[in-house]
């Protein structure tokens, strides 16, 4: 069970907002984390604490395919992103790099600064003060296998070792 403070962002948060291209001359997670969400909220990287949760609108992570985006969010300490929907490349990338994400159409009702409890196993989301509960869309079984393996690379290694 995760618990963290909500940072809220709107619809169509593109990967240029998550990590501007001017910082893509490195792929060092710690350095990327320092500029995470910089053009959407320059104060974010300074305020976010390990375990915090991003809540966003539709089409989160649209635009460029840069995997630096989920890497930066994860390295900034964010425990989970809950959005109305995700852009498809970001969706794949998040699973591949081990950043937990959940799709939940109703999540927009949650206020910035509130505390959320998230159960990744069953997709239950609860507001700590207030008690409202939300149910995220179930994670497809194949993605669960990737998570269980510890990411895509360990999954592929296991598959190659198994001769499948």
């Amino acid at each position: 069970m995760l618990e963290g403070t909500v940072f809220k962002f709107g619809d169509n948060i593109d990967t240029d907002l998550i990590i501007p291209a001017r910082y893509l001359n490195t792929c060092d997670p710690a350095e990327l984390a320092r500029h995470c969400m910089e053009d959407a909220d320059p104060t974010f990287a300074g305020r976010v604490k390990p375990g915090d949760i991003i809540v966003a609108g539709a089409n989160f992570g649209c635009g460029s395919s840069r995997e630096h985006a989920p890497v930066a969010i994860k390295a900034a300490g964010v425990a989970c992103v809950v959005a109305k929907s995700f852009a498809r490349i970001f969706y794949r990338n998040a699973f591949n790099v081990g950043l937990p994400i959940l799709e939940c159409a109703e999540i927009w009702g949650v206020a910035a600064g509130s505390r959320l409890q998230v159960d990744l196993a069953n997709g239950r989301i609860k507001v700590v003060d207030g008690g409202q509960e939300y149910q995220a869309r179930p994670v497809p079984p194949f993605m669960q296998e990737i998570i269980a393996a510890g990411g895509l690379i360990p999954y592929v290694k296991a598959r190659l070792a198994g001769g499948r």
Binding site: D11, N12, D14, D16, L17, P20, A21, R22, L24, N25, T26, C27, D39, A40, A58, N59, C62, G63, S64, S65, R66, E67, H68, V71, S85, A87, R88, I89, R92, N93, N96, V97, P140, F142, G151, L152, I153, Y155, V156, K157, R159, L160
Partner: protein, 422 residues
């Protein structure tokens, strides 16, 4: 059991999954013909690939193009480019393209015949969807996905539902592929095709050149699509003849294939389109752009850096001067396009007009180098994204247009139709 109708996207995926039929929503494992990475996405892919610790399944299938921050813009970029180059040498990759012989990846791969109709192509770059113009299935993935596919020769896909876009009618003057795709994105919005295939058809598409078709498929991702695709025809076959490095296969949608939705656009009288900041779906006809004074114009990128685009720009700029308050930067998409533009006198026209002409690079398109914007500056660009900060300072602005409008605006100093500078 009778034949089950399929779209072109389903057919290509079926063929690569070793199946007769695949269904939208189905998770499949598909063989990939080409895997692409650039100087920004390859370093992460290489790191992940080396964690697997196996050989590349087919070194000739991996294409690496250092095009984003090259020629190296700073020391860190130089280090990244070097790591990629070292990897290519270590693995004897025949399709690594060095500065001076490269181009912007999505202009380069079709031109070099590295991607052909019927292929499945994945690239660690979102505009990999460009190659759908050849009648191929091409989509962007992340670096880790690419690393896994370099080891396995295959990757997983969720078979997308298809949206069909039928373009009919007689568009107005100066309207090209860029305007058609901006119009469509303006209609459906930046999440209008989320997770779907965008299939472009109709007489207007059939009349388009290959360059125009690449432009359309290039921006499918700007509507959230997984891929953009155009059925191959004689133009496609003529294009790949003599350049295709592998045999191609032509697929077409069955007439009774199932679509999630069909959009019928009569584009009669359509004007050139302008996408306003900060989203590619904020589209207006150029006559309704109002008084937008500009500081910079960029003509180039994987969207509009092809020969036909440069010819259009030259047609507008011929005998004219760039406005005194404007910097015009023109970037041919590949060495071959550059050479042809020299031969046809286009570069002469640009330089005489007062433009800066650069070696192929993504450069300013992603705010990397070669024309980064200062706070408060405005640019017209033939690129594909006008997100906040895309070309530089978070308080700068980018307006997306076709090359003719971009060239005309460079002459006028604000956004105008090419008709106004004739």
């Amino acid at each position: 059991m009778g034949r089950i109708p399929q779209t072109i996207t389903q057919k290509i995926l079926s063929a690569h999954a070793g199946k007769e039929f695949v269904e939208p929503g189905e998770l499949i494992s598909a063989r990939v013909d080409v895997l692409l990475a650039n100087d920004i996405t390859a370093p992460l892919a290489i790191r992940e690939f080396e964690r697997i610790g196996v050989q590349i399944f087919d070194p000739a299938a991996v294409v690496i193009v250092p095009d984003h921050f090259t020629p190296n813009k700073d020391i860190k970029s130089a280090e990244q480019a070097k790591a990629v180059r070292d990897f290519a040498r270590r693995h004897d990759l025949p399709n690594y393209f060095e500065v001076g012989r490269m181009g912007i990846e999505h202009c380069l791969l079709p031109e070099q015949g590295l991607v052909v109709p019927g292929d499945v192509i994945i690239g660690a770059d979102s505009h990999t969807c460009t190659y759908g113009a050849l009648g191929a299935f091409a989509t962007g993935v992340g670096s880790t996905d690419l690393a896994a596919a370099m080891a396995l020769g295959e990757t997983w896909f969720k078979v997308p539902e298809s949206l069909k876009f039928v373009f009919d009618g007689q568009p107005g003057p100066w309207v090209g592929g860029k305007d058609l795709i901006l119009y469509a994105i303006g209609q459906i919005g930046v999440e209008g095709a989320l997770y779907c295939a965008m299939e472009f058809t109709g007489p207007v598409i059939e009349n388009l050149s290959m360059d125009g078709r690449f432009t359309i498929c290039n921006m499918a991702v700007e509507a959230g699509a997984k891929n953009g695709i155009i059925a191959p025809d004689e133009k496609t076959v003529t294009y790949v003849q003599g350049r295709g490095r592998r045999p191609h296969r032509l697929f077409r949608s069955d007439p009774d294939a199932v679509y999630k939705k069909v959009y019928q656009y009569d584009v009669t009288g359509l004007e050139p389109c302008v996408a306003f900041p900060h989203s590619p779906d904020k589209v207006r006809p150029v006559s309704k752009a109002g008084d937008v004074k500009i500081d910079q114009v960029v003509i180039g990128s994987c969207t509009n850096g092809r020969l036909e685009d440069l010819r259009l720009a030259a047609k507008v700029l011929s005998g004219k001067q760039v406005h005194k308050d404007v910097r015009l930067i023109i970037i041919p998409g590949t060495q071959e396009i550059y050479r042809q533009a020299v031969k046809e006198g286009l570069i002469e026209t640009f330089v005489r007009a007062g433009a800066a002409v650069s070696t192929p690079t993504c450069g300013p398109c992603l705010g990397g180098h070669m024309g980064v914007l200062a706070k408060g500056e405005r640019a017209v660009a033939t690129t594909n994204r006008n997100f906040v900060g895309r070309m530089g300072h978070p308080e700068s602005e980018v307006y997306l247009t076709n090359p003719a409008v971009a060239a005309a605006s460079a002459v006028a100093g604000w956004i105008v139709s090419p008709e106004e500078v004739r």
